[in-house]
């Protein structure tokens, strides 16, 4: 059998069974396209989270109470649960350590918040100093931010995030001057922050900022702080400053062994690491979904190929009786399977990339199509298509021509 004949036979076999060929190709297309789209979403989400973290600023150190390193023989409280960090610690750091640009202690708590008109929401309450807004790059969309005067007077005022505003007062309303109740205390809304696009672990749009002193007095009722944000002047001083803060706090808390510290200091790299493991899990999840679609697509391809060959057993018998050798038959079916899977593969890759592109265009997530996902999807589907197109054909080609001809 000449190569040109082989191609001609393949062409006419596929054309004379348009719907069957079309369905087989469709199965391959769906398998490949879904894998590519899924993996692109996973990778887009990962890099989205990472860029969000980097946007927080790279010179940031965060001191939190409680130990984060739970490994050891002693039982320790979970990170952030202890009350070992106080506002005095924050002031001591500010006074005794150089190279600190700003220091912003935070008291945080989650509370039910109600507005005057009865709507309520459960959200994070952040007790902050005015400099917190500059550390975090937060500006006001409406009204104003907290001032030193609010701190000193223990004012019951609140700056709320746009999402919280939408929840409590309705979308895009102006809540300035309205009252809200937190922990049965009445607060006056004085400002709304500019939306930062909520994503990652903390949605910075769904928050209420109140003066730190007010929070300690009326919300938590203790002198402790939940977190101290420290902006270091230069990135290369990060490690040094982190060490100095650690030494200072150990001294202040009368702890001799650094391993049993009642606080922990995280830098940007630590946070990034935590987030990466989160997004890694996300990618794994999407990968699993993609894997399932690959298997489902593969089984579809397998079924199509098996039925095709079984349906055509008589044709195989006829071709053999007209003088076709076993090799001629198996080569023809292999070529058909290859053509079908390549056509489906190309269309699948195009549709997969297009889907990823559309998600980027229409949604907020910037997807990333990787070569790896294309190779994985095309490779697995191609392999399944060719193996299950070729193997039954080879078996049919070995059949006695009489049996093949009689096959119903």
């Amino acid at each position: 059998m000449r190569t040109s004949d082989l191609l001609q036979e393949t062409y006419s076999a596929l054309i004379s069974n348009k719907s069957r060929s079309g369905l087989t190709i469709l199965g391959i297309v769906i398998g490949i396209a879904s894998v590519i789209a899924m993996i692109s979403i996973g990778q887009g989400a990962t890099s989205n989270i990472q860029s969000n973290i980097q946007a927080l600023g790279s010179n940031l150190l965060i001191v939190m109470p409680g130990s984060s390193k739970g490994v050891g023989s002693q039982v320790r409280g979970g990170m952030g649960s202890a009350t070992s960090l106080t506002i005095d610690d924050s002031e001591a750091i500010e006074q005794e350590i150089d190279s600190i640009k700003t220091i912003a202690p935070v008291v945080s708590s989650r509370k039910q918040v109600t507005s005057k008109n009865g709507t309520n929401t459960n959200t994070s309450i952040y007790g902050v100093m005015p400099n917190y807004f500059s550390v975090k790059n937060i500006t006001a969309e409406l009204g104003e931010l907290l001032t030193d005067l609010n701190i000193n007077n223990l004012s019951k005022v609140a700056v709320i995030g746009p999402t919280t505003r939408d929840d409590l007062f309705g979308e895009n309303s102006d809540p300035i001057g309205q009252k809200i109740r937190i922990n049965s205390q009445e607060f006056t809304v004085i400002g709304v922050t500019v939306t930062k696009g909520g994503s990652g672990m903390n949605n910075s749009d769904d928050l209420i900022y109140i003066p730190l002193t007010t929070a300690q007095r009326y919300i938590t009722g203790s002198e402790s702080v939940s977190m101290i944000n420290i902006e270091v002047t230069q990135e290369k001083l990060m490690d040094q400053v982190q060490q100095e803060i650690s030494d200072l706090l150990l001294k202040r808390h009368n702890i001799s062994d650094a391993a049993s510290a009642d606080f922990s200091i995280m830098n940007q790299a630590d946070i990034l690491g935590t987030m990466s493991s989160v997004s890694g899990t996300l990618t794994l999840l999407l990968g699993a979904i993609a894997g399932i679609s690959l298997v489902v697509g593969g089984i579809g391809i397998m079924n199509m190929m098996l039925t095709t060959v079984t349906e055509r057993t008589r044709e195989i018998g006829l071709r053999k009786s007209l003088g076709a050798k076993n090799k001629d038959i198996s080569t023809q079916f292999l070529t058909e399977a290859t053509v079908l899977t390549s056509l489906g593969g190309i269309v699948g890759i195009i549709i997969g990339c297009l889907t990823a592109f559309l998600i980027t265009k229409l949604g907020s997530l910037a997807t990333q199509v990787s070569l790896f996902s294309i190779l994985l999807a095309a490779g697995v589907s191609g392999l399944i298509g060719i193996v299950f197109g070729y193997y039954p054909a080879r078996r049919a080609a070995k059949l006695n021509p009489i049996e093949a001809l009689r096959y119903e």
């Binding site: 059998m1 004949d5 069974n17 044709e315 007209l322 003088g323 050798k325 009489i402």
Partner: protein
């Protein structure tokens, strides 16, 4: 051209052995028109499969054009089928949704001899010889009537210019009138073009179109003689 001696084919199912063919010996010369006749289960299909190089006997010898068919490999048998034998089946076995011309060309793809440019001409000659109306040549196979399909199948059997044409119940799926036309086509191929034709049938009136009738029953040849009626009618025509 064909020489068979003591052909035997045994099928084993469990412990029982069935003789599909039992010690059949005969010769067929070039240019003969032979009918192999017998009821269903008599072994005539087995005999055709062996003669058509689709199957091998359990024992005995079969020479086609002097070649010992028992010692050939599967690929050699495929080549013999491609060059020396043309099949016509009861159920036509055309490729569905494929044009008449492509169906007839099909054997030429496997014979490794005919140049691609010559194929269409050869197919047209074969279609003329099989008597298919020219306007049907570019129709799809499933747009034809039974009689037309069988003519396409005959043309496909002829296109390789084989030494031997084997027709297995070629009229079995046709009404008697169309059957007559198909049988007349075989007659014509035998008379005018000298093709050797073996016709397998279970009906005597079909067998009587041939010059010689081999009757087979339970795997054994029970009679092998010239078709007297045809000779008589030929003499009648002459005188």
């Amino acid at each position: 051209m064909i020489k068979c001696e003591h052909l035997t084919k045994i099928y084993k199912t469990g412990d029982t052995e069935t003789y599909a063919l039992n010690d059949a010996s005969f010769k067929i010369e070039k240019g003969e028109f032979v009918a192999i006749m017998g009821p269903s289960g008599s072994g005539k299909s087995t005999l055709m499969h062996i003669l058509g190089a689709l199957d091998r006997p359990s024992s005995g010898t079969y020479y086609l054009n002097g070649k010992d068919m028992l010692n050939l490999s599967n690929n050699d048998l495929a080549e013999i089928r491609a060059h020396d034998i043309g099949f016509v089946f009861q159920s036509f076995n055309l490729l569905p949704r494929t044009s008449v011309i492509r169906n007839v060309i099909l054997p030429l793809i496997y014979d490794r001899k005919t140049a691609p440019e010559e194929r269409e001409d050869r197919a047209k000659q074969a279609l003329i010889a099989a008597g298919l109306n020219k306007e049907r040549w570019h129709h799809l196979s499933n747009q034809l009537s039974g009689g037309q399909m069988q003519r396409v199948a005959i043309a496909r059997a002829l296109v390789n210019e084989p030494d031997l044409i084997l027709a297995d119940e070629p009229t079995g799926n046709l009404d008697s009138k169309t059957g007559e036309v198909v049988l007349a086509t075989f007659q014509n191929l035998n008379d005018n073009q000298g093709h050797t034709i073996i016709l397998i049938t279970h009906e005597r009136y079909v067998a009587e179109h041939a010059d010689r009738i081999i009757e087979i029953r339970d795997g054994k040849i029970v009679s092998d003689e010239k078709n007297k009626r045809k000779i008589v009618s030929a003499i009648d025509k002459l005188s």
